[in-house]
């Protein structure tokens, strides 16, 4: 009984690592279709990763060990995060060790590490990107915390699998606060993953870039790991969103093989829909000026707090 849970846990992590570039490729494909361009194949991110792993890694002369270690720390943090987020089964042995607040801490660790590495070389672009990233980060964190608090209040637990358990087994609950939280979450997801209203992942030659500016100095396997880690980050965020707002179909206590297969199919379908929706949002919105970013994230924070308020004041009445 215990052993099978560990097996599923490992399967889930492996699945996240394997599927993450696919999600990135799918979003890129949807974006191309929406913009009337011929789309790159779905496997494009895998090909790029393979190419990068075969290339020589060039490191600047002044680079400290931190610079070399950062990609591994980043990738490790994202893999660990993937172990906490329930995607196909909710009985995750690793998830007991860390709740959703620790998850945010994990993301913050990765961010700080990446920002420090970007400043390490001392190029102008690196430190500019790092400073911008930290600005976005410190504004996004309270918003995502508030989104989590919404779910915690609703289900009385801070562990993500617990939330999903409760949610998936009471499908009739549509609390209005969930809508507010979902909107806030999507905004944070866009900001945290360098998506279009805040940052454009497709540019390398503009003064507006944030994420790309930080990784300019990396090459070869280091760059491959960073790219993979950012794919994983997007995958993790999407899965958190699915877990919090659309958890139906997940294998609740299911250790039976058929049930997990069904959950996997449901997950892939949901990821496909979410990816297409993300591409749609990105195609519809224009990139904000950097100084509008605080406004955007303040709005996300506001929505999450409104969700809390609505829940506290309207939800309290119904139960009475």
């Amino acid at each position: 009984m215990k052993g099978i849970a560990f097996v599923w846990q490992l399967v889930e992590v492996a699945l996240a690592i394997a599927l993450a570039p696919l999600l990135t490729g799918w979003i890129a494909q949807c974006r191309s279709w929406l913009q009337n361009r011929s789309a790159p194949p779905l496997t494009q991110p895998y090909r790029m990763l393979r190419k990068l792993f075969h290339k020589e890694a060039v490191v600047a002369d002044h680079a400290s060990p931190l610079f070399r270690a950062a990609p591994y720390v980043l990738f490790g943090a994202m893999v660990l995060a993937a172990a906490i987020v329930p995607t196909i089964v909710t009985d995750l042995p690793f998830a007991r060790a860390a709740d959703a607040i620790a998850l945010i801490g994990l993301f913050a660790t990765a961010r700080v590490c990446q920002a420090l590495a970007a400043m390490d070389i001392g190029t102008a672009f690196g430190s500019m990107g790092a400073r911008r990233e930290m600005m976005i980060g410190f504004l996004a964190e309270p918003a995502i915390l508030m989104v989590f608090f919404n779910a915690f209040l609703l289900f009385g637990t801070t562990a993500l699998p617990g939330v999903v358990d409760h949610y998936a087994s009471h499908p009739s609950v549509i609390d209005p606060s969930v809508i507010f939280a979902a909107i806030g979450f999507v905004m944070v997801l866009l900001a945290e993953n360098a998506r279009i209203p805040i940052d454009n992942p497709a540019t390398h030659l503009e003064l507006t870039m944030i994420h790309e500016a930080m990784v300019l100095e990396y090459s070869g396997r280091h760059l491959a790991l960073i790219e993979w880690a950012s794919s994983l980050k997007l995958f993790n965020y999407t899965c958190i969103g699915i877990a919090l707002f659309l958890p139906w179909g997940i294998a609740i206590h299911g250790t039976s093989f058929g049930y997990v297969l069904f959950a996997l199919a449901a997950l892939i379908a949901k990821l496909a829909v979410c990816g297409a929706a993300l591409a749609l949002i990105e195609s519809l919105s224009a990139k904000l000026r950097l100084f509008r970013a605080p406004e955007f994230l303040a709005l996300a924070f506001l929505f999450a707090v409104l969700g809390l308020l609505v829940h506290l004041l309207m939800g309290a009445n119904t139960s009475a």
């Binding site: 406004e295 409104l306 309207m314």
Partner: protein, 221 residues
């Protein structure tokens, strides 16, 4: 019982949507988007009134829902759009100072409204009593929208949104107002928009803009 429970959940959802639209109105810079948001607010009002009418079995409320649909979803947005086009103000954007601060002020207003509504909603016996707080919040937020705007059209839309909030409050506290009063208010709204439309043209003729801060000085130097 089950039907009623489902209706309550749905009404709460609609009320939340109403609040959401109020915040969107507070933060948007474009006049045309403001009008579209106003239209959506009217649509939500129509849906929620129709739902209450269905659940309570009140024929009167069906009429008032139909009136909402005709006036607030179709007629007024059409008139406002026409006005904006005639004034050539489609692309006139508002210079809003410091949206996050406004949003925080709005949040405080919501807390205040919820606090105020708590004792009333305990007394109310209608199925929408959970939403009185939201109705109050919508009224206060529309007030804030009017205060923060400089342009005449935006202020009028804020005023109309406030009326939406009042209507929502009436529906949630007492199953709507008597039909005569509702008809009177509807007519008043229509007339008000016409008169204000005339004012827009006059203001623009005088000052070459719809910015109301020109009206604040008493005389020309």
């Amino acid at each position: 019982m089950l039907k009623s429970h489902f209706v309550i959940e749905l009404l709460k959802l609609l009320a939340a949507g109403m609040l959401l639209i109020s915040f969107a109105m507070l933060s948007t810079r474009r006049i045309q988007r403001l009008i579209t948001l106003y239209m959506w607010q009217g649509a939500i009002l129509f849906l929620s009134t129709a739902l209450v009418a269905y659940d309570a079995g009140l024929t009167e409320l069906y009429f008032s829902a139909a009136l909402t649909l005709l006036l607030k979803v179709i007629a007024l947005p059409f008139i406002l759009n026409w006005l904006v086009r005639r004034l050539g103000a489609q692309r006139e954007n508002e210079r809003l100072a410091h949206i996050p601060a406004t949003m925080l002020a709005g949040l405080l207003l919501v807390i205040l409204a919820f606090g105020l509504a708590q004792p009333i909603s305990v007394l109310a016996a209608t199925i929408m009593r959970h939403t009185i707080g939201i109705a109050l919040a919508v009224i206060l937020l529309s007030f804030l929208t009017m205060i923060m705007r400089r342009k005449a059209i935006a202020q009028v839309i804020g005023f109309l949104a406030m009326e939406n909030g009042l209507f929502f409050a009436a529906a949630s506290a007492t199953y709507g107002m008597p039909m005569v009063i509702e008809l009177g208010i509807a007519l008043d709204l229509l007339v008000a928009v016409f008169i204000l439309g005339i004012f827009f043209f006059q203001i623009r003729e005088q000052f070459d803009s719809l910015d109301l801060h020109h009206l604040e000085s008493l005389k020309e130097e």
